[in-house]
Symmetry: C2
Subunit: 108 residues, 2 copies
């Protein structure tokens, strides 16, 4: 069965005040937990994968294309493939990012 | 921007001690929060969508094909398209289910 125990996956430091755990995935879907310090950032970037983000905790300002929004626990965002997006962590917290297809680049 | 405020989405009772909120989605991905009472169930079923499940809180026993596993907060499961799966809630809690492609049937 494709089950990932949360505590079995060490965090990987991805810089800019963020660290991530790659959790369960299949070719179609990958779940990734990303924990941010206050002031941590996810630089504005694009990728061909569709992405949904669930705010588990903390507060974040997201930019998507030319818009900006502040979100908190339970709020969700959906990014179309290729959409330019980035985030600034306003209060330390964690995002659950899900990608389709899975991110091969996260396994390297 | 495709942002869904958690509290803007009322729960929909889906029976068997479960209720759900359909959160952000695009054609490729849909995020759904499902809250269970202790003893609530998601009957064994299949669908052509790939699914990843993140356990937000509570404890759950999942069956996937012929296997069974107990999971708790932060654990994740991935179900291939067509995999038979179901759950029994052992301690009240919430799952974050993400589907690819999105579930048209959840919008009816």
């Amino acid at each position: 069965m494709n089950v990932t125990r949360h505590d079995d996956v060490p965090f990987q430091d991805v810089g800019n005040g963020a660290k991530r755990r790659v959790l369960s995935y299949t070719p179609q879907l990958m779940t990734v937990e990303v924990a941010f310090e206050t002031g941590g950032t996810g630089s504005v970037h694009t990728h061909p994968h569709a992405q949904n983000t669930y705010v588990l905790s903390g507060r974040f300002r997201f930019v998507v294309e030319d818009e900006s929004v502040e979100v908190g626990p339970g709020d969700t965002l959906a990014f179309a493939p290729g959409a330019r997006h980035g985030t600034l962590c306003l209060e330390a917290g964690t995002l659950i990012d899900v990608f389709s297809p899975m991110r091969e680049d996260f396994l390297k």
